[in-house]
Each structure stands twice: as C-alpha cells, then as structure tokens.
C-alpha cells in the first residue's frame, strides 16, 4: 500500500501465520478445541486471489471459552494491535446466527483451531446490509464469481430473508444489487 502508518495490514500470508500462532496459544493454555467463523475482508483474502488486505480479522464465534486471552497473547508476541482479531461484527446489523449454517471449512490449525469462512453469497448479503464504501468495491469483485455460479438477484434476496428475517435493504443497497446483478 502506498499510504502508510505504523499498523501492519493483514493479507492471506500473515493471516495464516497469525492463525497458526493463535492455535499454538490455544494449545499452550489448554483451552481446548475452538471454532471460529471468519467474515469480512479476511474471508475474501483467504478465499480469493484479489490481493485483498484488511486491518483486522472479523470473526463470529458460538462459544468464546478463553479465546480472547489467546488473541491478546498473540498480539503481545507479534507486536500487533490487541484487536487484530475481534468479534465486534456480531454486534452489527450484518450479523446473523444463520451465517454459521453456511460456513465453509478453511483449515484446522494444530488440531485445535478449526477455521471456517463465510461463503461468497453470505458475504455479499452482509456487505449489502453494511454498505460502507469498501463493501461496494468488494461487491463488484464478488458479483462476477456469484454470477458464474448462476446465483441470481432473487437468490440473494432469498438468502437475505433467511439471514435477517426480512428482505429490507436500504435504497442504495437495492440500487447496487440491481446494477451489479442485472
């Protein structure tokens, strides 16, 4: 990135490294088997070759156990921000517990950390709910992939209803959907 500050960006390569470190910390502390669902930009970075970078790894969890203390331990060891991995997205409008149903296995690290990623259809639904500027550029990249897999605008609306119990989207999101999936 040409702009810079002192915060390291996350991409596929270092996300894998940090996930491995996290699994080692889970082992070291005897936390037990842990499952996380990676969403947002990190899911794109792990599943696609767009070169997508992100500033944090957004995760959803069904059980926290002592995951946070492991996350903080990795941050201290790697000299990165404590919120390098966080579940704040679970408090946002784009979250739904139904996301766990569509989770795709990504990799298991050291037999203790099972990492899942959100599928592309759910990711587009989340981004249509959030509609920040970066969501728009991500939707543009994911739309051709979904269209290649014969996913239609109606499929997206059906999934939105399953995720959020309503088909309501803000006007800009509907416009984005109509433009990209016409």
């Amino acid at each position: 990135m040409p702009h810079s500050t002192n915060v390291p960006y996350l991409n596929k390569k270092n996300i894998d490294k940090y996930l491995n470190e996290l699994s080692l910390e889970i082992l070291r502390r005897g936390v037990g088997t842990t499952e996380i669902l990676v969403v947002g930009g990190s899911a794109i970075a792990l599943n696609h070759r767009f070169g997508r970078a992100t500033v944090d790894i957004d995760i959803c969890v069904q059980q926290q156990n002592r995951l946070y203390e492991c996350i903080i331990a990795v941050a201290e060891k790697e000299q990165i921000n404590e919120d390098w991995m966080n579940a704040d997205v679970m408090h946002s409008l784009s979250f739904s517990y139904q996301l766990f149903n569509g989770a795709m296995p990504y990799r298991t690290f050291n037999n203790v950390l099972s990492v899942y990623t959100v599928n592309d259809l759910d990711l587009v639904c989340m981004k249509l709910k959030a509609m920040r500027p970066k969501d728009g550029t991500d939707i543009l990249k994911l739309a051709p992939i979904l269209k290649n897999n014969r996913i239609t605008k109606e499929d997206i609306m059906i999934r939105i209803e399953q995720l959020y119990c309503t088909r309501f989207l803000e006007a800009r999101a509907i416009k984005m959907l109509n433009t990209t999936f016409r």
């Binding site: 990135m1 702009h3 810079s4 921000n81 550029t137």
Partner: protein, 114 residues
C-alpha cells in the same frame, strides 16, 4: 487526480479502525504528529486525514492539503460512471460535510468501523 477507490476505501477503513481503537483525542494527537513528520504518504491520504481531524475537532485547524479536484464518495462515483446517474452525487453534494469539503471531498457520511 484520479482515485483508486480500492486503495482509498481501504485507507478510509483503516482510519475508521484507528479512531475506534484510539478514541478521538488520541487519534488527533497521533495523526497530527504523523502529519508533521510527513509519515502519511499520498496527497489524497494526507488531505483525508486532515479533513478527519477537522471533522473530529469540529474546527478548521488550518491544515492546508486539498485534493486537486473534488473527490466523490465511492457510490456517487460508481453510479455516475456506470449509469450516468447523478442522484447519489447530488445528495452527497447537498449534504456534504464541511470539514471534508474544505479538503476536497464531497462526502455526506463518515465511515465508522464495526
């Protein structure tokens, strides 16, 4: 000035996360220092950070960087380019946040980090 929205959106997202992490006061302190040390690269990025500092502090801090031409938000730009549709751009223009307009950005909403 042509805008690479991939990069710009990522940068504005990064800034949103920094505000969330540091809080307003620490953000202003840290980024004023980075600006003074010329540690933020790119005219667009410097202008955006200066605009954000003005926005947070709710005053004109006398920071001078400005984009060469007005920079639209991503959606406004996208719909003009894609459909010759000026609705979003007009809305953003009419509701432009003064602190950002002063530095060349036509934005009606500031991105917040989740």
């Amino acid at each position: 000035m042509s805008v690479n929205y991939d990069e710009f959106n990522f940068f504005s997202s990064h800034i949103a996360h920094e505000i969330k992490r540091l809080g307003n006061d620490e953000f202003v302190k840290k980024y004023n220092k980075l600006l003074k040390q010329n540690k933020i690269n790119g005219k667009l990025e410097v202008a955006y950070v200066q605009a954000m500092i003005d926005y947070i502090t709710n005053e004109d801090n006398g920071l001078k960087e400005k984009t060469d031409k007005f920079v639209l938000g991503f959606y406004a730009y996208f719909w003009i380019a894609e459909n010759n549709d000026f609705e979003e751009a007009n809305y953003d223009y009419e509701n432009a946040i003064e602190a950002f307009k002063r530095h060349g950005f036509i934005l009606s909403k500031v991105e917040e980090a989740v």
